[in-house]
């Protein structure tokens, strides 16, 4: 019987490519956000609202990840923003290589912000670094206030939480105070934004955060 001692990270290949992506984004002065949520929380609607609010003052590019169809890419394309659709054909998450290939298709576009919309899933995308600056987790009021407790890794690995569908709150059994409390139990440093992609409530505050991040980066050079 012979033993081989190994000590290798199982996701090392993904992590190496993610590091290359991160370096590439830094060189091109692009802030990349990895948007994660369950299906139907409003990731695409948030991107649409954000693009409209920023009104081309900040140059946005979008990578859309879905198991099937390019429906989301069509929505973004209608706003005259560069977009690349990744169809994963069944895979439940994006990985760094898929993002690298997709990003190469933007070729000469100059971007300030890249939104990477992950596959709707609160489990698997938590494990895969794509080279993003930060993960942003979106949860909608219709999903209930206990989501952070049920899917803690995603909330721990994200730096910002967007609570969407605030306009529906009066019809639902969802307490924002409870949702905030649960999210902060998992990750006390989460920045939390309350928005409605239907009424536009809170989108301005979120965009202000993006502009500040972008300006801060420019000053840092």
């Amino acid at each position: 019987m012979s033993l081989i001692t190994v000590e290798r990270k199982i996701l090392e290949k993904n992590d190496e490519i993610a590091a290359l992506n991160r370096q590439l984004f830094r060189e091109r002065k692009i802030i990349a956000f990895n948007l994660v949520s369950s299906p139907g929380s409003g990731k695409t609607s948030l991107i649409e609202n954000t693009i409209q609010c920023l009104n081309h003052k900040i140059k946005v590019g979008v990578i859309e990840g879905d198991v099937q169809t390019n429906l989301d890419a069509e929505r973004i394309d209608a706003l005259n923003v560069p977009v690349v659709q990744i169809v994963t054909n069944g895979s439940c998450h994006l990985d760094a290589m898929l993002v690298r290939d997709a990003f190469s298709k933007f070729d000469s576009h100059v971007l300030d912000i890249l939104f990477i919309e992950n596959v709707g899933n609160l489990v698997c995308p938590a494990a895969y670094d794509l080279g993003e600056r930060m993960k942003v987790v979106i949860v909608s009021t219709t999903e209930g206030d206990d989501k952070p407790l049920k899917y803690p890794a995603m909330f721990r690995n994200s730096e910002a939480l967007i609570i969407n569908k605030m306009d529906l709150l009066s019809y639902l059994n969802c307490s924002i105070a409870e949702l905030r409390k649960n999210a902060l139990l998992i990750n006390p440093s989460l920045k939390i934004f309350e928005v409605s992609c239907t009424s536009g409530e809170g989108i301005g505050k979120w965009c202000k955060f993006l502009i500040e991040m972008s300006n801060h980066d420019e000053k840092q050079g």
Binding site: M1, L3, V6, E12, K13, N14, C124, A127, Y128, P152
Partner: protein, 114 residues
């Protein structure tokens, strides 16, 4: 849900260590799996067993070391094991804590039949 992808990565890493000789076979593979790694051990084992058919790992067992979730408090310095992933220091209740263990997903050891 992504256990199949993880099993594929394990097989690729292990395959890179195997000697070229034709009669080499793998008895077992040991991995460390953190409690907070979001991986279901049973699903990972199932994925591994299915995928090793027709590879040099055919017949190998996947042994999983489960690593507890432990933290160190940045405020009072206490090290604690957490049963649930609520990231507060049980001693002083500070939310400023650092994860020490529990995120691992590492291939540790390969045992060959010889």
């Amino acid at each position: 849900m992504h256990e199949i992808s993880i099993a594929e990565e394990i097989i690729e890493i292990v395959s890179g260590y195997l000697p070229q000789a034709k009669n080499i076979s793998v008895k077992s593979v040991m991995i460390n799996l953190g409690k907070f790694s979001n991986i279901m051990p049973e699903a990972l084992k199932f994925g591994f067993e299915v995928l090793i058919n027709d590879t040099k790992l055919n017949g190998a067992t996947l042994n999983i070391n489960k690593i507890p979730l432990t933290i160190r408090c940045n405020n009072c310095g206490t090290e604690s094991e957490l049963d649930e992933p609520f990231f507060y220091c049980p001693n002083c209740e500070s939310g400023s804590v650092e994860i020490l263990t529990g995120m691992e997903m590492n291939v540790i050891e390969i045992e060959l039949n010889d």
